[in-house]
């Protein structure tokens, strides 16, 4: 725009004036360019490709350390203790006479602790068969934001003991303590597809030291599929299904299907769930679910999780007033 009047003036006026006008436009142009180029140059310095690129891990694939019943890929943070209360009420099919299942409930209390960012250990006591369980979850691989690692993989191992009174056996037969033991090995393979969708596969092996009849296998093999859909920043829908291989399962049990809603408020996560499994430990709900979703034998339940920071990371005390 400036050039046009300058040229007009140049065309009409003396050669001397012409030169002046050209000089004027020349001076103007670099000035406006300089402002932009300086900003650009500063950005270029910041965007320097030689700058070390940090590998960034995907975070918050799931909201809690459990998807619905079973473990998610998430661990609690280092130095964080997670106190969990879980309830599974009786079957809704019981109707009004059992207050839609609220009359009877399986409950569990659990403490999960993050030893490091990749190692979590936990203990749980559940009312079903008076079971004590110890478990550990280890992060093996972590999904990265640049997809150089497309999935997160964790191992979950659990061992539990039921503490029901020993059965009365015929004379001469012995009841071994080892009859009470259960072992679970589980691989968790998860991918956060995007901000709102996460999926997880859970190949599971359960070993029952004692099975009801000699014809049944001691090992149950199952494949689990779980996922969550975020509805808002604080609310998510979750679901979980465990398929037991026909050749490696106990007789007379059903596959567990569960759906839930995660609600997060500050340091709490509430998980409200509907499931055909009335039990809480892995060996029980994956391998020994009695009820049939199709017959309306659905249980309402919830998990409440409250975290406590036991070991605080260093460097925070009054750091805002500290001169670095």
């Amino acid at each position: 725009m400036r050039i046009i009047p300058a040229l007009l003036v140049a065309a009409l006026a003396m050669p001397l004036l012409h030169n002046n006008a050209l000089a004027q436009t020349k001076k103007d142009k670099p000035k406006t360019e300089t402002k932009d180029s300086e900003d650009e140059e500063l950005m270029d310095i910041l965007d320097d490709k030689s700058a070390p690129k940090k590998k960034e891990y995907t975070s918050a694939t799931f909201k809690a350390t459990r998807i619905v019943n079973g473990h998610s890929i998430e661990n609690v943070g280092k130095g964080v203790l997670d106190f969990r209360i879980a309830h599974r009420f009786g079957s809704l099919a019981g109707g009004a006479s059992s207050f839609f299942g609220l009359d009877g409930a399986v409950t569990a209390l659990a403490f999960d602790y993050g030893v490091t960012d990749w190692l979590m250990v936990g203990i749980m006591r559940s009312t079903y068969e008076k079971e004590y369980e110890g478990y550990t979850k280890i992060k093996l691989l972590r999904q990265t934001t640049n997809n150089s690692m497309p999935v997160s993989v964790s191992y979950m191992g659990a061992m539990s003991v039921q503490s029901m009174p020993a059965p009365t056996l015929p004379a001469g037969q012995e009841w071994f303590f080892s009859n009470r033991l259960f072992y679970v090995n589980q691989l968790l393979i998860a991918r956060k597809m995007n901000r709102w969708l996460s999926l997880q596969l859970m190949p599971t092996h359960i070993h029952y030291n004692l099975v009801p009849t000699s014809g049944e296998p001691n090992n149950t093999i199952a494949m689990g599929l779980g996922g969550r859909i975020k509805l808002s920043n604080r609310i998510a829908l979750t679901g979980e299904y465990h398929y037991r291989l026909p050749d490696a399962q106990l007789n007379g049990y059903k596959n567990a299907v569960s759906v839930g809603v995660d609600i997060e408020t500050g340091g709490h996560v509430f998980q409200l769930i509907f499931t055909n499994a009335s039990t809480i430990s892995e060996r029980a709900f994956i391998g020994q679910t009695v009820d049939d979703w199709g017959k309306g034998d659905i249980h309402f339940g919830f998990n409440i999780s409250r975290v406590f920071t036991i070991v605080r990371p260093k460097g925070f005390d009054e750091s805002r007033n500290k001169v670095w």
Binding site: I45, S59, A60, V80, V307
Partner: protein, 181 residues
Amino acid sequence: MKRIASVLVVLCITQSAMAQKYMTRTGKVSFYSSTPLENIEAINNETASVLDSKSGDFIFQVPIKSFKFQKALMQEHFNENYMESDKYPKSEYKGKVSNISAVNFAKDGTYNVTSAGKLNIHGVIKDVSIPATITVKGKSITIASKFNVKPEDYKIGIPKLVEGKIAKEIEVTVNNILEQK
């Protein structure tokens, strides 16, 4: 070509003035939210900033995911629920020190400056004016500043349930040591 040309132009224009760029990638920024119920603090050591000592142009970039909290869950909520760092990975301040000529980069000392520019947090850009001090020491300068940010201004939603725990105004402290480039 455009880049070469602009670099040439910059070289020509700034030759005599000895303009210097100062920069860092390990600048520190922290914020502090104080309420009777809970104090929340987070520290970030991965701030990148660059200053042109001639023009006073200044850019300051903060990767949101690099904020470290005392509580791991807070850090997750900060990223997931409040800052939405997947959508808005960086906060940026792009400004100009208005009285840059008051700073003698050749002489050690502390100088008070003010800068005006655009602050981008959570994808919301606001015009702000931020006071700071520039401390010159040899070939490095320290930019220090303290200012308040209202989460509300940047469309950072705080649910009723935790309203009492998060301050209406959050104090941001900046301390960046920039080296001559």
